[in-house]
């Protein structure tokens, strides 16, 4: 067996199809984007080398990028400080074994399997100024002052796209937390019970610290998912009105495919890759201590 499985011929046949496809259509395009980002290039004419000028322009003369970046960080904040705590709380309640536990899990997870196009279209209708659920409800309550044209008003457009982004993936993070909690040995809880700890105390002192690696994973997902956000916002507002709800993803897309700014758009695309990498590393670093503490319990 060892001899058979060491033959180069077989190894090549088994691994090369996937590897070559992936290098050619996955890795090479990524690197090309990195190269384009250093040039002034419109796709047809010649490419002028600019060095890091495109990246500098993002933060100096670009009128829209700083706001798009700020929006993406609002999304990160909402994911980490609203979505994850809600998901964690749900997972903790459910993992204690309540009636209908499986039904709740199934329901929370439904939006995850639905296309973001459908989710976006659906929430567009919910936020519709005339016939949307939200404004009908507001009118029903008689609070006319709060009746906005949610998606066409620059001050509410972006926040209106944040809501479905949070809503859609609550069940996803809940399930990751739930799986993590279920894998914690029951010994800890029994010992805590003997010591007379309350449910609240065991949650804070045992569950959360032991869950540190899982919380880290969820935070990295929430972070990278938010930084590269595209689909929902593209469907709901396409960054409008007047760029109020742009994120780097939508800005990049329109620069590349509407305006033909191949070099500049690539710099925005590559910036997203870089910030995802760097900030994921930062989160991992921050969690290093927490994880060490967890293994000490």
């Amino acid at each position: 067996m060892e001899r058979m499985l060491g033959k180069k011929k077989y190894i090549a046949v088994f691994v090369l199809p996937a590897l070559l496809l992936f290098l050619l259509f996955g890795i090479a395009p990524l690197i090309t984007t990195g190269v384009y980002s250093l040039f002034d290039y419109d796709g047809i004419g010649k490419m002028d080398f600019l060095g890091l000028d495109n990246y500098i322009e993002l933060f100096t003369t670009d009128r829209y990028f700083p706001r798009a970046l700020r929006n993406s960080f609002i999304l990160v904040g909402a994911s980490i400080f609203i979505q994850l705590p809600v998901s964690l709380a749900l997972a903790m309640i459910l993992s204690r074994g309540v009636k209908g536990e499986k039904a709740f899990r199934t329901i929370y997870f439904i939006p995850v399997v639905i296309s973001s196009m459908v989710i976006g279209q659906l929430w567009m209708k919910i936020f519709h100024s005339e016939y949307g659920l939200l404004n009908i409800f507001i009118r029903f309550l008689g609070m006319k002052d709060f009746e906005y044209s949610w998606l066409s008003n620059p001050s509410t457009a972006f926040l209106s796209t944040v809501v479905p982004s949070i809503w859609q993936y609550i069940g996803y993070h809940m399930l990751i937390f739930y799986a993590g909690i279920k894998s914690i040995s029951t010994d800890y809880y029994e010992a805590a019970k003997i010591d007379g700890a309350t449910n609240w105390q065991t949650s804070i002192k045992i569950t959360i610290p032991l869950l540190a690696p899982v919380i880290k994973t969820c935070m990295v997902f929430a972070l990278t998912g938010s930084l590269r956000a595209f689909d929902l916002i593209y469907v709901m507002t396409n960054g409008g009105p007047n760029h109020a709800s742009d994120v780097p993803g939508t800005l990049m897309y329109n620069n590349l495919f509407r305006k033909g700014l191949y070099g500049y758009g690539s710099a925005q695309a590559f910036f997203i890759v870089l910030e995802c990498l760097v900030l994921s590393l930062v989160i991992s670093k921050l969690f290093k201590r927490a994880e060490e503490n967890a293994s000490a319990i």
Binding site: F25, L90, F109
Partner: protein, 275 residues
């Protein structure tokens, strides 16, 4: 507070959030079966007074949705099969075969999970165009397969590492060739992991928007999500019709979810739990 009160409050939270998750979807399904008169005022949140199945018939016949639906089925099936086969083979080589650059290649695939697809979009667009594949079926099947492979390999290698070598060993000693052994012994063993990976690939392919929106320009090859999006723009005032289109786009994934909810949940968090 007594224990009973506390428990009731917690239960209430669970129910409230379940309602928040379900209500928009309930609303979607009911308005897909209503006329505009009901949707726009007469009966906003109730069940339809008159069940207009016509919305569905109309969506299927006028909007070209049937064509988009069949396209999406084709894209998804081919992607699932290609991804499954390629990553099962690569995963086998990565865990069972002995070669020099194994760790490096594995690292490359791991990296692939983290690439935001939009960062590869423009060069991908150009290379598919140069090869004459952009705008056709292959022009979308290839990117879908390529970007599904890393996660599929992760799921499968995790599984390969856990299966004992005895059965293969016996087969090889009996003179079974590598290809036959892979097809008749390995594939049946890894079926559960292959199912998990396939569900993941299917859901992502079926729901994908950015590639489909960028790499396909003709109606003929359009996928369901992009089709419904332009359909929604075109018939923007006919909510019942749009709603029907949206439900049609969602039905296959929801159906699979209800039939296999445990496997679907498991496959979508597989990456998180293993990584």
């Amino acid at each position: 507070m007594t224990k009973k009160v506390k428990r009731s409050i917690l239960y209430l939270i669970l129910v409230l959030i379940a309602l928040t998750q379900l209500f928009p979807l309930y609303w979607l399904v009911t308005f897909s079966l209503k006329s505009n008169i009901e949707i726009f005022g007469a009966n906003v949140i109730g069940l339809p007074q008159e069940w207009r199945w016509d919305n569905y018939i109309e969506a299927f016949t006028t909007g070209g949705i049937f064509r988009y639906f069949m396209n999406s089925v084709l894209y998804s099936l081919v992607t699932v099969v290609m991804t499954g086969l390629l990553s099962a083979m690569a995963g086998y080589a990565l865990t069972r075969m002995h070669w020099k650059f194994r760790a490096l290649v594995f690292g490359i695939f791991t990296l692939g999970i983290m690439i935001p697809t939009q960062a590869a979009l423009l060069p991908l667009f150009q290379v598919l165009d140069k090869l004459g594949l952009k705008g056709g079926y292959l022009g979308l099947m290839i990117p879908y397969t390529v970007f599904a492979i890393p996660m599929s390999i992760m799921i499968l290698t995790g599984f390969y590492k856990g299966i004992p070598k005895e059965m293969e060993e016996a087969a090889y000693i009996d003179g079974c060739g590598v290809f036959r052994c892979f097809a008749s012994i390995i594939i049946p063993i890894i079926k559960p992991a292959l199912a998990t990976a396939s569900i993941f690939t299917f859901l992502n392919t079926w729901n994908e928007l950015m590639f489909a929106n960028t790499l396909v320009d003709s109606d003929k090859f359009r996928t369901l999500p992009v089709g419904i999006m332009s359909f929604a723009g075109q018939y923007s005032t006919d909510w019942g019709l749009i709603g029907a289109g949206m439900v049609i786009a969602t039905l296959p994934t929801i159906l699979i979810y209800f039939l296999l909810s445990n496997q679907v949940q498991e496959s979508l968090v597989a990456g998180a739990v293993k990584g």
